[in-house]
């Protein structure tokens, strides 16, 4: 038996002595009695004289009562010492139970029938571990997926820990073992008898398994030989370099010195065929078509056959049967696929109809990597209305872009009938700033806006401006050079980021090209005029390559397309998603495939995105007041060959050290006694109370 109570023995002894003294004194000190007047005490005297014949028994009863009280006191004080049975041979441990909840744990090979997942088995093993804990053991449950999430504090409350374990669900992300081991080691720092139990299928990338140090990190000692040679500069430089190298290495590794790490393997099957890459892109030249790249791999040890199907929305674009040798990785490229209104693409690996006797694997227990998702920016021919007097430069530049359908009206015609712009995707106002503009989502491009209806407030007019700086990060200004563009004059815009406005080109500090997001539509305002007949302002911009590029970029931005816009992200990694020119957003709301909504910060136009599920995500950028500014769609895929390789590892080696299994989960067989002692004490108190009030012990 051991005593694990937090009270020092000397303090306990003092308290025990005091309490015992108090109890005995209470029996010795004369009891204060209620006075009662009787007419003839002589009769009482006679009765008591008869009772006094049993005086010895009466004294004995009183003594028994005192002993009973001392016994109760002793039991309570003994319980305060936290006596523990069986804790002598094995000290109480602090255990961190790492439960792998990564994607591979969703493999349905927990049992022979394939009805239970690996995670179900892992939770069962973890609960068995918790149930075998002794009274002195403390355990912390941590979920390991793309993040390391402590699910509890250190506790010995087995029912509570089991309930927490029951609530763990697997995510669609690879496991970040390094982060989990680091968190576990930090949690166990300065705790006695630390133990980490990893319940997993062992599907971790090799680099993560190597980032472990079993010895305490010791910084490199200065080289005494170099010091002795008296070359202080060289010595200092060499030492600093060594220290830097040492720091870099040790910051990345997890220090598991003095920590016992055990491994509980789960999983049975290794046969799996999964999509490990799925990409889609538009052709730069023909944005009405796209190309798809799919890469699948057979991780099993036997040949496999699958149906590979590509869907655009719900339309099956292509279907083919692929055969994969053991370990074979095969890439499929789908070229010149026509775009449709639906921008969602999905590739699916479906079981193939195979003869069981053929030895070909037709299906696998891990369905998560059998599907992958991608998004194609919606593409269609834009209807562009040019509100201009005959401007050959503009019309000629528009001709280079074959993905538009052009319409042209004069400013007078437009003013007379603004409804001419209805149904247009883009309206270009050349040297005209009407009071009535088409309603969203029609986007607007202004050349030299003037007057009170200008889309971006005009601060002043600048003579002979020179473009000194452009926002190359904005999709409109991509690949554009304007440094040698000449212009007579230009409006200078008063850009207000709070209104969703941003400057695209500056003359020194004066914005002369501005972009704006106005709800569902986008606006670009160019401060200078295009050359045309009868205009006094002049620029050589249309003579430059930058002009058609500017038009194409602007129309692409209006259409929500960018050649290098990434819309597919891997799960389990924190990515920074550019918000496609959205200015002024401070927060974004991310709605996941499972309907879960999270809010993420937007910093410098980049939203932090972490996908825990595969599928499509809706990201809504919001301003400081919480108003939605723009919407973006994203797709997240597992895309992790390490995670798709579901072959369970019966043994796991961390930093070159093979991890042993826990000793039949018998971490400590100690048994806490305090609860039983208190129960006995309470029972005795009840007995004492009843016998006293029934006047048996008095």
């Amino acid at each position: 038996m051991s005593f694990l109570g937090p009270i020092p023995f000397a303090v306990w002894a003092a308290v025990a002595g005091g309490a015992a003294l108090l109890a005995v004194s209470a029996y010795i000190i004369k009891m204060r009695r209620r006075r009662f007047e009787v007419p003839f005490s002589h009769l009482w005297q006679r009765v008591l004289d008869q009772k006094d014949a049993n005086a010895l028994w009466k004294q004995l009863k009183r003594l028994i009562s005192l002993l009973l009280m001392l016994l109760i006191l002793g039991l309570i004080l003994f319980a305060a010492l936290d006596p523990t049975l069986g804790g002598v041979s094995r000290k109480a441990r602090n255990v961190v139970v790492l439960i792998d909840a990564s994607a591979s744990m969703k493999a349905m090979d927990g049992d022979e029938e394939g009805t239970r997942s690996r995670l179900d088995i892992a939770k069962e093993r973890a609960k068995a571990l918790i149930d075998s804990m002794g009274g002195g053991d403390l355990a912390l449950v941590m979920k390991v997926d793309g993040q390391a999430t402590p699910m509890s504090r250190f506790s010995s409350d087995a029912p509570m820990l089991n309930k927490i374990i029951d609530g763990i669900t697997a995510s669609d992300t690879p496991a970040d073992l390094t982060r989990a081991l680091g968190a576990a080691a930090d949690a166990l720092r300065d705790r006695p008898n630390p133990l980490i139990v990893l319940v997993s299928d062992g599907a971790f990338p090799e680099p993560q398994l190597a980032l472990v140090s079993w010895e305490p990190a010791v910084p490199p000692a200065p080289d005494p030989a170099a010091e002795g040679r008296g070359a202080p500069g060289a010595t200092t430089g060499a030492t600093a370099a060594a220290k830097a190298a040492w720091s870099t290495k040790n910051l990345a590794t997890v220090d598991l010195s003095n920590i016992d790490v055990r491994y509980v393997p789960v999983g049975r099957r290794s046969d799996n065929v999964g999509v490990i890459a799925f990409n889609v892109r538009r052709y730069l030249a023909n944005k009405a078509a796209y190309e798809v790249y799919v890469e699948v791999q057979n991780f099993g040890t036997e040949p496999a056959r699958r149906q590979l199907r590509l869907y655009n929305g719900s339309t099956n674009v292509d279907s083919k049967t692929i055969d994969l040798a053991p370990g074979e990785r095969k890439a499929e490229v789908y070229k010149e696929l026509p775009a449709s209104d639906d921008n969602k693409l999905r590739v699916s690996l479906q079981p193939a109809d195979v003869d069981p006797a053929s030895g070909i694997n037709g299906s696998d227990p891990f369905p998560l990597d059998d599907e992958a998702y991608a998004l194609l920016p919606a593409r269609k021919k834009q209807k562009v209305l040019m509100v201009t007097e005959d401007n050959l430069f503009l019309e000629a530049a528009m001709l280079v872009y074959d993905n538009v359908e052009q319409f042209k009206v004069t400013p007078a015609e437009y003013d007379a009938k603004p409804s001419l712009a209805d149904g247009m995707d883009v309206v270009i106002f050349d040297e005209h700033t009407p009071a009535v503009v088409p309603p969203p989502p029609a986007s607007l491009l202004y050349f030299h806006p003037t007057g009170p209806h200008t889309p971006v407030a005009i601060r002043r007019e600048l003579p002979s401006p020179r473009v000194t700086e452009i926002d190359e990060d904005h999709p409109v200004m991509r690949w554009i050079t304007m440094s040698d563009v000449y212009m007579d004059k230009s409006n200078v815009f008063a850009v207000d980021p709070r209104q969703g406005e941003s400057a695209l080109a500056y003359s020194v500090r004066d914005p002369i090209i501005a972009a704006k997001r106005d709800g569902k539509r986008k606006i670009v305002a160019v401060g200078f005029s295009l050359p045309s007949e009868g205009r006094d302002g002049a620029t050589d911009m249309p003579m430059r390559v930058a002009f058609p590029m500017l038009l194409v970029n602007t129309l692409d931005w209006f259409a929500g397309m960018s050649a290098d816009l990434l819309t597919t992200y891997p799960t389990g990694q924190r990515e920074r998603v550019p918000l496609d020119g959205v200015v002024g957003a401070t927060e974004a709301e991310v709605k996941g495939p499972d309907g879960a909504i999270t809010n993420v910060p937007v910093i410098d136009g980049l939203a932090t995105f972490y996908g825990a599920r595969v599928g499509y995500y809706d990201l809504t950028a919001k301003d400081a007041l919480g108003r939605p500014m723009a919407q973006l769609e994203l797709a997240a895929n597992l895309a992790s060959p390490a995670e798709s390789d579901i072959a369970p590892s019966s043994e796991l080696s961390l930093g070159g050290k093979a991890l042993a299994a826990p000793e039949a989960f018998a971490i400590s067989r100690s048994q806490k006694l305090w609860i039983f002692l208190l129960l006995i004490a309470m029972t005795l108190i009840v007995v004492e109370w009843v016998t006293y009030h029934r006047r048996i012990t008095v």
Partner: protein
């Protein structure tokens, strides 16, 4: 009030005596002697027997009744009214009965001594004086029955009925006091008054019992068994008193304060033969 003994009175009244005199109840004949009153010669017998015989009549005199009321401290206990109140009510009622019967009734409160004394008086009109006396008489002290009775017989030479109304809670016992009355030719009439709560107290817990007369303190832890033992002891004490009275032919009544005193006087005393 029925007296079993025949006491000689002082005045003519309604009680027979052993005296032969001028009453109306015929008693006997005797031979005529010279000097006798001719009016009492039985002439019928002289005609038949030819002898002069004189008719004798019983003399009717009054009876001395002493109402001895215990006014010790123990009589001041009782709920809702103390036993003393009840005892005084009974004493007053019996006094009235005696006065109405032309008996000489005296009231003597006692405790550790004879505290006061209402001299023997006759006639119903004295009842108000009795009330005033009872109202004003002092109370308190220990019960010392023997001493009081000794003083009483010394002070009252005229024998008669001695009605002792008390709880008889005398640590020295009741026997000697009652014997003193008997030995001095008084006819004791014993009336024990008690309160039901003192016979069956509802006590519990750790108590300090204080004797209201002696001040003796006794620490007890009252349990159910102890209470039962006390009740038995109280009953035994009362039975002892009753047995003693029965043994020496002393009329004995025991009553508790819950019985209305008029019912006690009119029904119980009458059915018990104490009142006619």
């Amino acid at each position: 009030m029925v007296s079993r003994k025949v006491f000689s009175g002082a005045l003519r009244a309604e009680r027979r005596t052993r005296k032969v005199g001028s009453g109306i109840e015929f008693a006997d004949h005797r031979t005529y002697a010279r000097g006798d009153d001719f009016r009492y010669i039985d002439w019928n017998l002289y005609g038949r027997l030819d002898k002069l015989l004189l008719r004798l009549f019983e003399e009717e005199e009054d009876l001395s009744i002493y109402i001895l009321v215990d006014v010790s401290d123990s009589m001041a206990i009782g709920q809702p009214l103390p036993k003393l109140h009840y005892a005084m009510q009974i004493g007053a009622a019996l006094t009235y009965v005696g006065l109405a019967n032309l008996d000489r009734v005296a009231i003597i409160p006692f405790a550790d001594r004879l505290i006061d004394r209402l001299p023997p008086s006759r006639g119903k009109n004295r009842i108000f004086r009795v009330f005033e006396f009872l109202k004003s008489c002092g109370i308190g002290g220990k019960t010392e029955l023997a001493e009081c009775m000794k003083t009483f017989v010394t002070q009252n030479k005229r024998r008669g009925l001695a009605v002792v109304i008390s709880d008889f809670y005398d640590p020295d016992g009741f026997e000697q006091g009652l014997n003193t009355l008997r030995y001095n030719k008084f006819e004791p009439f014993v009336l024990q008054v008690y309160d039901k709560r003192e016979a069956e107290p509802s006590l519990a817990g750790d108590l300090e019992l204080v004797d209201c007369e002696t001040g003796d303190v006794r620490e007890v832890t009252v349990s159910k068994s102890l209470l039962e033992a006390y009740q038995r002891e109280h009953e035994r004490y009362c039975k002892q008193l009753e047995a003693y009275c029965t043994k020496y032919a002393m009329p004995f009544f025991r009553t508790h304060t819950s019985i209305p005193f008029d019912e006690l006087v009119l029904k119980i005393f009458r059915s018990g033969g104490f009142l006619r």
